[in-house]
């Protein structure tokens, strides 16, 4: 299943400048692993000990994955996975 992963500007140095990546996987964790296999530096930036860093938010179709099953949240074919910094607002 192909999904799109959206990368914020500050992380594009780790993806060869690409804003949108195409990846495979049935869950957010699988999708990210498939991206990390190609772009190892991205993994170091957004994860720590296999978990997302505290100030990294990930959304599937605009919904925060913490309202789903975290990295186990299912993604359907054609879904959009967005990575964003969590420290905005208020």
């Amino acid at each position: 299943m192909a999904v799109t992963v959206k990368i914020p500007t500050q992380l594009r140095a780790t993806t060869g400048g690409q804003a949108d990546l195409t990846a495979e996987g049935a869950t957010v964790g699988e999708v990210l692993d498939s991206v990390f296999a190609e772009y190892g530096d991205l993994k170091d930036r957004i994860t720590e000990d296999g978990e997302l860093r505290r100030f990294v938010n990930v959304y599937v179709g605009g919904e925060d994955i913490r309202f789903g099953d975290g990295l186990g949240t299912p993604v359907s074919d054609g879904a959009e996975v967005t990575i964003l910094p969590a420290v905005a607002g208020g």
Binding site: T9, L11, R53, F55, P85, A88, G89
Partner: protein
């Protein structure tokens, strides 16, 4: 000029003073760093007292490389000793109300926005924007109009009508997003990445947040250059709560005021209480919530500074409590009846928590307790609509007598 650079609160990586808000190493929030080593306390105090009437008197502690100012200068709002409120609460503590509804657009957001928009101009931006629960929308639209900048204001589409009307009037681009505040915030974080705009609470957030320190500075001045013993303040993102603390701390470090850090009590609405929940569970991790409360200005389900707010309550021996919608309405009425100050729902939350603290016996005799009232009651009129009473009479003394049972004085 004491401002130095930006620094990650988590991993201490340093950055230049630009429009950036998170650490590219660890995603942690960036904060403004100052060098106060040249500040002489006596000279600084004289400079403050000789300064403008509002927040720009604290220019030494604000993040500007040049001289900053704005035409709608907020600040120096009244600090009122609320003896009748203390009496109603049955406490021997001295209660002070810091009434920040007395700002140009009637909320504390004028402070943070004045700083952010002055910084946007210093950085050369021509368009400003924000993700808002309402008060920020009013402030950004007004200050952008005053500064002659274009503005885009993003709000949840279901916001209180008063807050929508009081934003649009300034000639902004008012965008109602079909979703809650956290959806608006996510959208603005995405747009801030693409547009050459200054989003005051996204890419300018480190500067914006500094504006809240002025609430602490004013409190110290208004208490005769003394610190309060205890403060009660609302928590939405947690930024106001942590920056009031930072303000007190800076002035102690420089030697402008003696004493120790006040005890900090945070206030949330039960219908959106990720920070109060984390505090009560003994963790700093704030699990996000879907807000459902009349206190829309505090309805942030995913608070950026939540972990820091929890730490601060713990470190000062304070607490973070939540109150339900009935207690919020009761808080609004209690403050109005005892002080003559009509606050919005966020103020009802804060007074509701103050009452809870009094009931728990946490307010001690003789100590100075400062309660931060951050917004105006006229912006959330619907909250108290059900308790509104109007007695109609015919235009003659007998009709008045029959309803109110008093004697007519001939």
């Amino acid at each position: 000029m004491a401002v130095k650079n930006l620094k990650c609160k988590e991993c201490s990586t340093e950055y230049e003073l630009g429009a950036s808000f998170f650490c590219s190493e660890c995603f942690g929030p960036l904060e403004v760093v100052y060098d106060y080593s040249d500040l002489n306390p006596e000279e600084t105090r004289r400079r403050i007292q000789a300064g403008t009437r509002g927040i720009w008197r604290y220019a030494d502690f604000l993040p500007f490389e040049g001289k900053a100012g704005d035409p709608l200068e907020p600040g120096m709002t009244p600090l009122i000793k609320a003896d009748r409120l203390a009496e109603r609460l049955g406490t021997g503590a001295e209660i002070y109300i810091k009434n920040d509804a007395a700002n140009p657009t009637h909320s504390f957001k004028d402070r943070v926005v004045a700083v952010a928009i002055a910084k946007a101009k210093e950085l050369g931006f021509e368009t400003v924007a924000c993700a808002s629960t309402g008060n920020l929308a009013n402030a950004v639209a007004a200050h952008a109009a005053a500064a002659g900048l274009d503005s885009y204001v993003f709000v949840p589409a279901n916001l209180e009508e008063q807050k929508l009307l009081a934003t649009d009037i300034y000639g902004t681009n008012l965008v109602g997003v079909k979703g809650n505040y956290d959806d608006v915030n996510r959208l603005c974080t995405q747009l801030a990445d693409e547009k050459p705009w200054a989003f005051v609470n996204v890419n300018l957030r480190p500067y914006y947040a500094e504006g809240s320190k002025t609430l602490a500075y004013e409190t110290v001045e208004q208490l005769g250059w003394n610190l309060p013993d205890r403060v009660v303040a609302p928590i939405a993102s947690g930024s106001l709560f942590t920056k009031i603390s930072r303000g007190f701390q800076e002035w102690q470090e420089i030697g402008l005021v003696e004493g120790g850090q006040p005890v900090f009590h945070g206030a949330q609405a039960e219908g959106c209480s990720p920070v109060a929940t984390a505090f009560s569970e003994g963790t700093r991790v704030c699990r996000p919530q879907k807000p459902d409360t009349i206190a829309k200005s505090l309805a942030i389900g995913d608070p950026a500074d939540g972990p820091y707010a929890v730490a601060q309550a713990n470190e000062t021996g304070g607490s973070i409590d939540a109150v339900d919608d009935d207690r919020i309405r009761e808080g609004i009425r209690l403050l109005a009846e005892t002080t003559g100050i009509f606050t919005e729902t966020a103020g009802g939350v804060t007074v509701g928590v103050l009452k809870k603290l009094a009931e728990r016996g946490e307010l001690k005799d003789g100590e100075k307790v400062v309660v931060y009232i951050t917004g105006e009651g006229l912006k959330t009129l619907d909250a108290n609509r059900d308790s509104f009473a109007l007695t109609e009479i015919d235009p003659n003394p007998e009709s008045f007598e029959s309803k109110f049972g008093q004697e007519v004085v001939a």
